[in-house]
Amino acid sequence: MVLTEGKVKELERTAEAIRETIIEMLMAAGSGHTAGPLGMADIFTAFYFHILRQDPKHPDWEERDRLFLSNGHIVPVRYAAMAHAGYFPIEECLTLRKFGSRLQGHPERMRLPGLESTSGPLGSGLSQAAGYAYGARMDNKNFRVYCIMSDGEQDAGNIWEAAMFAGNNKLSNLTAVMDRNNIQIDGMTEHVMPLENVRAKYEAFNWHVIEVDGHNMREFINAVEQAKAIFERPTLILAHTIPGKGIKEIEFDYTWHGKPPTQEEGQKFLKELRTLKGAITSEHE
C-alpha cells in the first residue's frame, strides 16, 4: 500500500484519537498503565490502520497477520486501536478492567477474539510468537508474525531463550518490535538493570536490527516493509519512544508507568490532546 503524505497525516490523527480513548478508558477503569499505552499509540495505529493483513469482522481469518503483545500491561492501546479499527464498538472500551468485560486488565485470548495470546507476566511473549512462527513455517504459511515487547522485560531470561531460538531457527517470518522507552516500574531501565547495547545483543543472536523513531509513522512502516525483505533471519525493530507521549507533563516520567490519571488529571490530559489534534488539523488544512 502506497504511503502518501495524506495517509501519514491520517494515521497521525488516528493515533491522537486512540490516545484520547486510552485516557478515557483509564479514567473509567480507575487503574491501569498510562505511559506505555500512550507511547505505543503511533505504532499500534500503524499496525491496525496500515500494516496488518486483517479483517476486523472476522478476527479468526486464517490468512491474517498475527500480532502478539508480550508486555500485556499496555493492552489499553491495543483495545483502543482494535475498537477504532472496527473489531468491536468504541463504547466497549469503557468496560476495561470491569467485572464481566472482555477487556481484561491483561489480555486474554479466550475472552476477546483477535488478541492472539494471553499475556501479562513479562518475558514470555517473544517465545510464544516464535513458536507460532515456527509452526506456520512448517506448513508454508505466508502470513507474518509480529511481536510487540517492552525494553523492561528484556531483564527476563525467557526473552533471551526466545531470541536464541528465533535466531538459530532463522525465523524470517517473525518481526519483533521493542518499545524502547527507557522506563520500567522501579525507574529508568538503565538504573534498574542496564540493557547495555541491546542492538548488538540481538545482532549477536543472528537477528536483523533496525532502529527507528517510534513516533515517526513513515520510518516505522518502512522498517516493517524492510523486515519482509530480510531472509534467513528474524528482524527486531528497536523503536525509540517517549513514555506518556502526547501529554507534555508526563512524558519521560517513569512514575506514570503503572498508574491511571485521576478524573481531574484526565480532563486536563484530554483537553491537551484535543488541542493538539486541532493544531495538527489546522496545519494540514
Binding site: 486474554e108 485470548r109 479466550m110 492472539e116 495470546s117 494471553t118 499475556s119 501479562g120 507476566p121 518475558g123 514470555s124 517465545s127 510464544q128 510468537a129 516464535a130 513458536g131 507460532y132 512462527a133 515456527y134 509452526g135 506456520a136 512448517m138 506448513d139 531470561g157 525467557n158 531463550e161 526466545a162 536464541m164 531460538f165
Partner: protein, 329 residues
C-alpha cells in the same frame, strides 16, 4: 484377586517383566508420529533420557530442540499449539513443570492451548541424582491449574496409552513419568480412559480401599496379596488425578469404609489430598496417606529410598492395618 476385567499382565505378581514408564511414552510418541502429522516434539537437551530420541530420528522435521531452557520449552510449545500443532514437551519433572510453572500457568493453562507436558524422572526412584532431581511436588503444581488434565501412569504400557489419549484430548495435559524400570502391570488389552478409575485387585468383601497412582501400584498389589487372609482389600489405580473419578472414589470408599492412598509424591497436594477433598465432601472415612511427608529426597537406590520414605510394600501393609483398626474403633 487380580481383577479379570482389566486383562492384566500374566504372572505380574510372581514374575513381572520390567520397563520404565518413560519407555512407554517413547513408544506412544512414535505411534503418534505415524498417526497424526500435527504432533511435534520439543525437548530441552534431554531427548535420550526422556525417550524422545526415536521420534527425533524418525521425524526430524517435527522435532524441535530448545536447549537447556525449560521456560522457552513451555512458551515455544504454547505458540505452536496456538497455531494448530499438538506439541509434546519433555524434560525432567523437577524442571518442567518445576522451573517453568508460571509459563505453563499463563501461556498454556489460562491460554487453554493443547500442549502435552511430559515430566520424566518424577519421584524418589530417580535415585542417585538426589533431591534436586527428584520431583515430589509436580502433581500438586499441575492439578491446581484450571483446564489442566493430570495423568500418572502405573506402568510403561499405561504410559503408552496415556500418550495416545493425551494427543486426542483437546486441552493441556500433564503426564508424569519415572526413570526406573518398574513392573509392567497392564497389557495392550487393558482398558484405559482419561478420568476413569481402574480396579486392579478385588477384595471379596472389601474392608479397605487402596487408591494408588504411578508405579507404586505394584507395591500396593503386593501388599493386598500379602494381607489377603487377614484383611480384604480393593486396589484402585487412579492414573488420572485430574479430573478425578469422583463417583468411583466415593463408591469404593463407601463399600470398604476405610481408605489408604499411595503415591510417590508429597502427601500435601497430591493424590491423597485429591481423594481426601472428595471424601471430606461426600463420604468421610478413616484415611491413611502413603507418600512423602514434607521432606526432600536424597541420593540412594530406588528401593532403598522407597523403604526410607515408607513407600515400600511393608509400609503399605502397615497403613492398611492401621486404617482398618481405626475403622473398628
Amino acid at each position: 484377586m487380580l481383577s479379570p476385567a482389566q486383562k492384566l499382565a500374566p504372572e505380574l505378581l510372581s514374575k513381572p517383566t520390567f520397563a520404565p514408564t518413560r519407555d512407554g511414552f517413547g513408544r506412544g510418541l512414535l505411534e503418534l508420529g505415524e498417526k497424526d502429522p500435527r504432533v511435534v516434539a520439543l525437548c530441552a537437551d534431554l531427548s535420550e533420557s526422556t525417550r524422545m530420541l526415536a521420534f527425533k530420528e524418525k521425524y526430524p522435521e517435527r522435532f524441535i530442540q530448545v536447549g537447556v531452557a525449560e521456560q522457552n520449552l513451555a512458551t515455544i510449545a504454547s505458540g505452536l499449539a496456538n497455531y494448530g500443532k499438538i506439541p509434546f514437551i519433555a524434560s525432567y519433572a523437577a524442571f518442567s513443570p518445576g522451573r517453568n510453572n508460571e509459563q505453563i500457568r499463563t501461556t498454556i493453562s489460562l491460554n487453554n492451548v493443547p500442549v502435552k507436558i511430559v515430566g520424566s524422572h518424577a519421584g524418589l526412584s530417580v535415585g542417585p541424582d538426589g533431591a534436586t532431581h527428584q520431583a515430589l511436588e509436580d502433581i500438586a503444581l499441575m492439578r491446581v491449574q484450571p483446564n489442566m488434565t493430570v495423568i500418572s501412569p502405573c506402568d510403561a504400557e499405561e504410559a503408552r496409552k496415556a500418550t495416545l489419549a493425551a494427543a486426542a484430548h483437546p486441552g493441556p495435559v500433564y503426564i508424569r513419568l519415572a526413570r526406573e524400570k518398574t513392573p509392567v502391570i497392564t497389557t495392550p488389552d487393558t482398558p484405559f480412559q482419561i478420568g476413569k478409575a481402574m480396579e486392579l485387585w478385588q477384595g471379596t468383601n472389601p474392608q479397605v480401599a487402596v487408591f494408588v497412582t504411578g508405579p507404586l501400584a505394584h507395591n500396593a498389589l503386593l501388599a493386598a496379596q500379602a494381607l489377603a487372609s487377614e484383611i480384604s482389600v480393593t486396589v484402585i489405580n487412579l492414573h488420572t488425578i485430574k479430573p478425578l473419578d469422583e463417583a468411583a472414589v466415593v463408591s469404593f470408599a463407601k463399600q470398604a469404609g476405610a481408605v489408604v492412598t499411595v503415591e510417590e509424591h508429597q502427601v500435601a497436594g497430591g493424590l491423597g489430598s485429591a481423594v481426601a477433598e472428595v471424601l471430606a465432601q461426600n463420604y468421610s472415612v478413616p484415611m491413611e496417606f502413603i507418600g512423602v511427608h514434607d521432606r526432600f529426597g536424597q541420593s540412594g537406590g530406588g528401593a532403598e529410598l522407597w523403604r526410607e520414605y515408607k513407600l515400600d510394600v511393608e509400609s503399605i501393609q502397615a497403613a492398611i492395618r492401621t486404617v482398618f483398626a481405626r475403622k473398628l474403633t
